[in-house]
Symmetry: C2
Subunit: 328 residues, 2 copies
């Protein structure tokens, strides 16, 4: 039979693009030699994949990232972008109290995209997935004028109840796992054309979500939990509204790292603003009825009242409280 792939052009440069390799050739290049996770019962290459869902349920979330909107190829390497895209999804799985089992990756890209960009993105997604014991179980690669990376993550609750945003109760303690403010500081540095300090720029490029803290919090009896992707106050606002409670954050409980103090001083920005409003570090916030588990820091309290988030008892007026993908 004839095949649906274009024949090689003979032009070495064009061959190493989407157009040169064709859809199936490219997928073969992006999937070859990958080691699959134990949860992968049937990996990529068929109409669909099959994943283990041992307790009879599957947790699922999807995120779409667009070049020029959510990432910049001149700020980050393709591999860093792939890691960050995967991390955003994996953190959502962790925020339900689940462990990731697999990712599906949709890649829409210009047909002249170099193979090194596409394989860099894929490598990054695989690395981040592997760091939590998951694998890429399926995907799609298509031609598009704009580079768009769309990731779906699946996870297992391992028999636990899902921890939603809706369970916070008056009297609970609000706690935090992972770091906040770093990615926002990195963004501020990059936006001004600098490439250092490396620590904050790296934090913007590749977040380090506290994946294990999600299932840990669920096991410890967390009443609500959320992935901080839009900023601490904005995301606690989701919890406050879903749980119909008031949340009060104590800034005295938030330690501003020396590095952020330095960067803030250099840029003329109060670093506490980054901690309160910066997203993309993918820390986790949760509420606990009793003691806060190890690795978590108590940062506030839950009370009866209008569904809102106060900072030291007052409405925060230090600037935009979050992040909106359409107005950034």
């Amino acid at each position: 039979m004839t095949t649906s792939q274009p024949s090689p052009t003979g032009d070495a440069e064009a061959e190493n693009t989407l157009a040169g390799l064709g859809e199936f050739g490219l997928i073969a290049r992006l999937t070859e030699g990958r080691r699959h996770s134990p949860a992968t019962l049937l990996g990529p290459g068929d109409d669909a994949a099959v994943l283990a869902a041992a307790d009879g349920r599957v947790v699922a979330t999807t995120d779409v990232l667009v070049a020029g909107v959510h990432f910049r190829l001149d700020w980050s390497s393709p591999q860093q972008i792939g890691r960050k895209a995967a991390a955003a999804n994996l953190a959502d799985i962790a925020a339900m109290g689940a462990v990731p089992t697999g990712l599906l990756v949709g890649l829409a890209c210009p047909s002249d995209s170099p193979l090194e960009v596409l394989s860099g993105l894929t490598d990054g997604v695989w690395e981040e997935a592997r760091s939590v014991g998951a694998g890429v179980v399926g995907g799609d690669v298509v031609s598009s004028p704009t580079l768009v990376l769309s990731i779906t993550a699946l996870g297992s609750l391992q028999g636990r109840e899902a921890v939603t945003r809706a369970g916070a109760r008056p009297g609970d303690t609000v706690a935090l796992a992972g770091r906040i403010g770093w990615a926002a500081a990195g963004w501020a540095v990059l936006a001004r054309g600098f490439r250092s300090p490396v620590a904050v720029v790296s934090a913007h490029r590749v977040p380090e979500p506290p994946y294990a803290a999600g299932p840990q919090a669920a096991a410890a009896g967390a009443t609500s939990m959320i992935d901080i992707s839009d900023g601490l106050l904005a995301d606690l606002g989701h919890v406050a509204r879903a749980s119909a409670v008031r949340i009060d954050v104590r800034t005295a409980a938030l330690t501003v790292p020396d590095r952020l103090v330095d960067v803030g001083a250099a840029l003329g920005i109060d670093p506490m603003h980054w901690l309160l409003t910066g997203g993309e570090d993918h820390a986790l916030a949760a509420t606990f009825p009793g003691e806060v588990p190890e690795g978590w820091t108590a940062i506030g309290t839950v009370a009866e009242g209008d569904p809102e988030v106060l900072v030291d008892g007052r409405v925060y007026d230090g600037g935009p409280g979050g992040w909106d993908h359409f107005t950034r």
Copy 2:
């Protein structure tokens, strides 16, 4: 707390766009009033959804569709595009022998996209999902210069083994469920600027995959199965290679519908070419060791030999044998 959504502009037109409504406002509009399927244990609105996976496994597949590449807003309504995008994924679930349980929808769109386009797309996805008893359990809406629709479908094997592309054995009968050639005829009509005959144009706009035939074939002992999305010969080629067998299709077993005969005559195209190479109807092809189940039509045989697909014993030379998203 301050919110991350832009305040209304006061401009009624701008308010009914992504930019006017903001991410959260738009998601609220797109999800309100939806009825969820029994498999949906936790629907949209949290960090992730939770779906039933009763037999301890989940089937998962993802597809990305790009405006101008995979669909045209001047050829199809947003609702038709949504239905087709969902159908492509749901057919992949059926082709494993599974029933769909839920969809996740990623929508990347220009920030001035009218709400009616976005809600039309979403309505279409919901309608198609509901037609198979599934629901939309999660999603993401982001700003993008290009409209990209990315869908992930999840499904349940209901205790059956997955039917892959790799199990066809010499002596098996190749069979078909659903119609082929219709969407390709519709594409040919639309590409020439016509809008009728309605039957073929509708087939291009919204496919009618034989969803129930997938689980039925699995229960009846199908040894391999595939969703025909790239064309009968191209997709049987995947089965031939994965199973390391030769497949012979008998054109005498393929009935060319009168309607396609008429359209072919009008356009000067042999309609058999559409049946052999046209994708996007999302028919299912499967191989059976014994009798072909009701609703399926025997169209060929599996034999030992080089992994290839023959038509009436010969290599088909009637034109490109399939479809490549980068060279269309």
